[in-house]
């Protein structure tokens, strides 16, 4: 029982702190590529505290507030169902498929909240975000399916164990490189980085879903970004990079996954929505399908 309590408290906390680091890394890497100094180390915390400390907090109705709760709740749940070194949490009570669908709960929550703001920019942003989700999730799902077929299980703990038993040669990235590569491209889209940041599009639709988010609402979105980067990194690590043997290795892998994405993102502009769909359904999907065919042939 105590271990559950520890899981429930520490796993989201670790996720949040790691996520702060990931956000900082993303901003620093971007700054370095642009030959800037970049933000100070505590910048992500300053931003979040500042937003929560705003003296006026405008809301667009109960659903707007509820969406913030769903947002945080959905991601906290996702963290509890992720296996990390030392904590398996509830990873045995719900599998990979469950996890993927739990991660859609905050998306849906955000979408509902933005919709209830009655802002056309926000609605356009959600329309694009959901379209983007349809685009990147199809290659991602193919990669996940292929990996599950190869491991013969959807139990996250077992997936990690299988890879750790055989060492790096049995990591998903080594045994099914095509799936891992297709999955990486999909993950890049999932993080909403250029050229796939169609739903943020600051100069075009004024940050889309976030347009009416202010104060602690925006602060919750900043927290969500921490969770999101961490969760995506951990899922990819679990599927293809052997999960975590111990914390330093594990965090290094998670940071590496996010680093690849943030390192390439700065050289791109923004795709149009339909360009993104076509690209996602052509290259990552094709690569992942080829990987799936290889897995099935074995």
């Amino acid at each position: 029982m105590m271990s559950y309590v520890a899981d429930f408290i520490f796993m989201p906390l670790i996720a949040f702190v790691t996520g702060l680091g990931l956000v900082l890394m993303a901003r620093r890497v971007r700054a370095k590529i642009e030959r800037r100094v970049g933000p100070p180390v505590l910048q992500p915390i300053y931003d979040i505290v500042k937003l929560y400390a705003k003296k006026t907090q405008i809301s667009h109705g109960i659903m707007h507030d509820l969406s913030i709760m769903m947002l945080l709740g959905g991601f906290i749940t996702a963290e509890i169902f992720l296996p990390v070194p030392g904590f398996d949490g509830l990873a045995g009570e719900g599998d990979l498929i469950t996890l993927i669908y739990i991660m859609m709960v905050p998306m849906l929550g955000l979408a509902l909240g933005v919709g209830s703001c009655a802002n056309p920019n926000g609605s356009i942003g959600i329309s694009r975000a959901l379209t983007a989700m349809l685009a990147y999730d199809i290659p991602f799902i193919i990669a996940v399916t292929g990996a599950c077929m190869a491991y013969g299980t959807t139990n996250l703990i077992e997936i990690v164990q299988i890879q750790q038993a055989g060492g790096p040669a049995s990591w998903g990235a080594a045994t099914m490189p095509l799936l891992a590569f297709g999955g990486l491209l999909a993950v890049h889209g999932m993080m909403g980085k250029e050229p796939f940041e169609i739903y943020i599009a600051p100069a075009e639709i004024a940050t889309g879903p976030m347009v009416e988010m202010s104060g602690k609402y925006m602060g919750a979105l900043f927290i969500m970004q921490c969770f999101q980067l961490y969760t995506i990194g951990v899922i990819y690590t679990t599927l293809f990079l052997g999960g975590g043997e111990n914390w330093p290795f594990f965090l290094a892998k998670v940071f590496a996954v996010v680093f690849i994405s943030v390192a390439v993102t700065n050289v791109y502009g923004r795709f149009k929505t339909d360009t993104m769909i076509r690209w996602m359904w052509k290259w990552p999907t094709g690569i992942a399908l080829a990987g799936l065919a290889l897995v099935m042939a074995n």
Binding site: F8, P12, Y52, K54, K55, T56, Q57, I58, S59, H60, G61, M63, I68, M69, L71, L72, G73, I76, T77, F81, L90, E93, G94, D95, I97, T98, Y101, I102, V105, A111, G115, S116, C117, A118, N119, N121, S123, S127, M133, L134, I138, I141, T145, G146, C148, M149, T153, T154, N155, E158, I198, E212, K216, G219, A220, K272, T273, D274, I277, M296
Partner: protein
Amino acid sequence: MSLLLRRRFFWEEIDLMSLLDILLLVAALLASGLFVLGRGSFAGWLATVVYGLMLAVLAIAGLALDSGVAFIPSAMSFEILGRNLGWRLDGLGWFFALLTVGAAFFASWYGSGEWGRKQKRMGLQHALLALNVLAMLLLLSSGDLLSLFIGWELVSWAAFAIMTQGGGPAVAAAYRYMIYALAGAMAVFAAIMLVQNVTGGLGFADLQTAISAMSTAQVWVLFILFAAGFGVKMALMPFHLWQAPAYSETPGASSAFLNAVSARMGLFALILVLVKLTGLEALGSLAIPFTFMSAKSALMWVAAITMVVPTFIALMQTDARMLLTWHGIGQGGYMLLGVLVGTSLGTAGGLMHVFNYATYQAALFLAVTAVIHRAGTSDLDELGGLITRMPWTYVTLLMGIIGLAGLPPMNGFVSKWMIYKSLLDGGQPLLLIMAFAATLGTILSVYKLIHNIFLGQLRREHQHLKEAPVSMVLPMLILAGIGFVTGFMPGLALNITDIAQRAIGGDMLPHHLGGVTLATGSLNMLWVVGVLIGAIGAGALIFYLLGNRRYEVHQFDNYAGGHFLSADIRYHFSHEFYPGLARVIGPWYRGSIVRAEQGIGILVNVAGDLWQAVFRVAYTPLYMLLVVVLGLVFTGSWGIVP
């Protein structure tokens, strides 16, 4: 004390012979009674109470079936042409009957209050609903192929009658349905005659002997006839075009009933004939020449395509009811796919999806009907912002769409999870990917539904709307509540599907209250939902404890690039909600199936015109001659073939 010590339970003292008879008798009495009394204001409530009683009877029957009784026979039987025609309710039929009566219960409740009073001929609608229930019960309790066919026809005609109640476009849609249904019935009839020709009998056992006696070609013919005939009813692609207009034009409460269960009659018949009687091994061994596929995998692919294509058609709809009915077609694909996988997990998942679908689809339709009742339209381009005016309807719709999209914590997630998992364990990754893709499309589509109706700008003309009355809100909230409870504790629904699964045969799925435990990954919804609710509670704590108090502003206090918003400006982003996606998949959608149906329609028209011209205008003697020659050939070959 003596009550507790009694060994026999009360349902064992009731003669089992009579349970089904009671059910059919009550249904028949209700239907005929409502035709007479339907106009009374109490008619709807009376029907609701009777449906409640029928649910109680079904519950007793369920307990009996659960305790090991194979089926509940009926005293009713006829002798036609030397064949005994009988009815009996087994577990599979019981499962569908429960859903039928349950859906009728909620639809009737909904129609008894304010909504019904606004309808033109609500009495007739009540009576037709009861007629539909009777017809479906007859179909579900059919004991041989002939009674199956009779039930089939009754269901088709009853549904036709209720579909026409909308008037106007509803009649055209119902007519179109009838053409499809009759074609399907002809196919079924031909298949039954084929069985009769081979074995000389019409019992279910005769079908099984016929299949073992037939040549492969004959079995193929039988399979195609049955699959196509029953597939029409459950709107399997490519026989799906009738369903969306027909169901969505039906008046609200009846439409919820039809959507929830009517198309599932086709699934029932498919499960009965193809899975239970023919057996999936037999279908699997029916190989398609020159391919790797068998009849079973072909049907699975048809189910998968039925899942994906209608979902993306639904995405493009601009009418709430059309959107939902197109999703209904797509959801049918999931159920069939799950059942066809054939593992205990797949079958249970498919059957549970039937149950789940009935709960959330009925709730969704009732909610949309409530919106029509208040706002006067279900056009997704003409609504918006109703969340402040109709909050309970919003809650229902929200719970319904979470179920439809298959996200936790609603029940739709559990059954879809079981279907995904069975596909994965069954080594069908491509079908699994299609199932995932359809779910993603559903998420997009249902968000558009809720966004365009309830979120965004409230129109000036909807300023003064009120929440729907309790008689409408309560049934739909209860339906949504069932969806949540069976999502939180899927074991409750799995107990019900167990009875049906036992009747189908094959392995049973071991499960517990929270879900299933498998070697390759488990699901315990008690944990998932519990943690999700707890975490949302934590989110609420973070929201309320940190930061200053919230201050609610009105909808025009909104950033629009420095523009001043007012009630005169319509800025709700609702028309063409997914323009980027529409540019990619729009051309596929416009091109394919609808054109094909139009093509067939034109072809039939031209052929009919030609035929008419030839017959009635010019060459009468020539055709007399042709008919005579054909007749001679036919009788000649008849003499040779047997």
